[in-house]
Symmetry: C2
């Protein structure tokens, strides 16, 4: 282990021993190489003869870039082709933290400054490696994004049934926590892919009390909050913040990790800008720095840094006074589709053939077929009804995010017909 990692770990051990005990071996080894080339480069900033920098500059000190690239970027060379820090651009990180605080008013406790990740998958991957050893367990509901299987390939999933009585299965979570004393890593995803379910205010109370009980027993608990679809909440009883806001200050044995980004929140799937933020009841300044350093070291070791141009675009959009209205407009479109799905589903014929899983948010909803096989119905829908859905197990997943409102009734009618054979 490097000297810098050892020094970082001793800060954590002293200030926040619970966080230290949650780190995997890789998490303990992680550090940001502040000494060496990067420190020396920082020291040389502003020198008349600065030959530290591993890029090419023209004779006046501007990036020696290619016009055929920069001219199409909408930004100048500096904001397009220069490297960003492995931590991400400072202004963007601050802006995003402001946004987190604004949208999560319950967030009382101290957090780290968000570190920019190559979108949410990258943040999940880093969190997984930082907190879970090879073969280590992760506790999560049994309805989850398929790519978790690749992202957390080194971990073992210990799942519980996602729903109980049409609600989030708090007892299932509590049971898993009871079965796994010691270190516990939980993964929560609200709004959920594939079900489109977000924890209600009641669910959140239950989740918090289950986790607090476990923490009270002395277990150390990390909770990863995959907030990819954050904000797309469509029912009154849904908790309108991230669970992160409540977990961050819950208990000195609970570390909350927020993974979010522009991907869905700002309808910028392909731009690849995400963030990773820690919240913890007893977080000190030095411990926050260590966590940011470790994440940034893992960013550096996996992709070096995140696209500068994407960060420039993100920052400019976040500074744009038109942003809230444009977000509201898109939200309104998705919400009206959600409402239409609800309306369409009230057709009593449907209940003979399928029933919806609980849903109240996000891009998706799922139905469970009562009389037919999901994969057969999917194929029939494609062949006879020009209708494309995702079949997963005995469920069909419907992305109402990508279907116009006026097509939704036909879509469900097609499913009904296909179920009828």
């Amino acid at each position: 282990m490097s000297m810098q990692a050892k020094e970082a770990n001793s800060v954590l051990e002293k200030d926040c021993p619970s966080i230290y005990s949650l780190l995997s071996e890789a998490g303990r080894k992680a550090f940001f190489p502040k000494s060496g080339i990067l420190a020396q480069t920082a020291e040389a900033k502003g020198s008349r003869y600065n030959a530290t920098i591993g890029i090419a500059l023209d004779d006046s000190g501007d990036p020696l870039s290619l016009d055929c690239l920069v001219k199409n970027s909408g930004f100048d060379a500096k904001d397009t082709v220069l490297y960003s820090p492995s931590y991400g651009q400072k202004a963007l990180r601050k802006k995003w933290l402001d946004r987190i605080k604004e949208k999560n008013p319950s967030l009382g406790s101290k957090t780290t400054l968000p570190v920019v990740t190559n979108a949410i998958t990258h943040g999940l991957s880093i969190a997984g490696r930082m907190l879970v050893d090879d073969g280590g367990k992760m506790i999560l509901p049994d309805m989850f994004w398929g790519n978790y299987n690749l992202v957390f390939q080194h971990a073992e999933f210990d799942t519980f049934e996602a729903f109980s009585g049409g609600k989030f299965n708090v007892d299932g979570l509590r049971e898993k926590l009871g079965q796994n004393p010691g270190k516990q890593v939980i993964l929560l995803n609200f709004p959920n892919n594939p079900t489109g379910y977000s924890a209600t205010v009641d669910d959140v109370d239950g989740i918090l009390s289950a986790i607090e009980e476990s923490a009270e027993k002395g277990n150390k608990i990390a909770v990863l909050c995959d907030d990819a679809y954050f904000g797309l909440f469509f029912e009154d009883d849904v908790f309108k913040e991230s669970v992160f806001s409540k977990l961050a200050g819950l208990h000195e044995n609970v570390l909350a990790v927020k993974l979010d980004g522009l991907t869905k929140e700002m309808y910028a799937w392909g731009l690849r800008v995400g963030f990773m933020t820690f919240g913890y009841k007893g977080l000190t300044g030095p411990a926050a720095t260590v966590l940011e350093d470790k994440v940034s070291g893992m960013v550096r070791g996996s992709v070096s840094n995140v696209c500068t141009h994407s960060q420039s675009l993100a920052l400019k959009a976040l500074d744009d006074p038109a942003l809230p209205d444009q977000e509201k407009m898109n939200y309104g479109i998705l919400r009206s589709r959600y409402s239409e799905v609800r309306k369409v589903l009230s057709d009593r014929r449907y209940s003979e053939r399928f029933e919806p899983l609980p849903f109240n948010s996000g891009y998706f909803m799922c139905i469970r077929l009562k009389t037919a096989d999901a994969e057969s119905v999917r194929k029939k829908l494609l062949e006879d009804y020009s209708t494309g859905l995702i079949a997963t197990g005995d469920l069909l997943r419907i992305a109402f995010s990508s279907i116009s409102k006026d097509k939704l009734r036909d879509l469900f009618d097609n499913i009904f017909k296909a179920c009828n054979g």
Copy 2:
């Protein structure tokens, strides 16, 4: 191990057993999830009711994006915010392979189509995990980019002295290969960071014969070619192609892996577009597909996919007829700085205080101090001469890529003075 990974592995075992035997445990587990959501989404393309897609579309089927983001991107929403495949955009991959072939005329054997990575670091990281098990050895010269320590943290470096008699130390490489029978993973970086040395035509002959000898003994050898600084060759005797072009067809026991990208080749450090390409003497079509699938699966599991907007910019620039002239212009500027460094170094006073390491290419050159300590001289240069260099061990690294030609004599004079105390 998933069924899809097993199927992929059996193709490799049958068609290219040497490649199969080079895979790490993670490399064997890697696969691209072609069945499931992605396959079903592909099948649904063009359906009248397509509710498979995990993005948001407006009522006319265009991306439901935010104008405050897209309006500054220089591209339309589709080329800015939509997801790209985990493999990268097909047109870009083909274009890049054309470029590789054009710049490496010796490349005779079949290669995979390049897979787009989140720049070269990401490609190196994937190659490292795909080919090297935890604690597995990598053979490389002792002068290497510091970030290799993070990227290949799971591996053990078995280094040999980089130079011998002012040339690449072929005997050092041969010796290491002799000491490590069985599976051998070599990492070559020409032009090299930090030394700015590229293998000469003679060096390449030596490297190839050392590797071929080892392959003849039945050893299985993977050679990672970190071609970050490819093309910046400044001396006549330097081999003007990537060693990859010769390694790709060398022997049925040798797998060549090329890691390259826009970062330095197209002066687009912050855009984060890289490529990973395999070359192998007996590569079959199905085996090439398996390798592309495994890499793309690892892309998907680490970052999902690479920035669409960066790929759009890259493709447009590669299609721009002005590109070759603009590249030539930048190359000319860097080459003239290189020549100036050579000229300045002929000052005979300098040889009492320092000597250059072999260099002939790239962004950098290094000097070894004869009478003073590198770190002390670095600090003195900063304080008394407003001159910033990188000290590493007993060397000073000078990035002539970022210093105008007219400052280079002063810069070396400053070093000389600082060495004099």
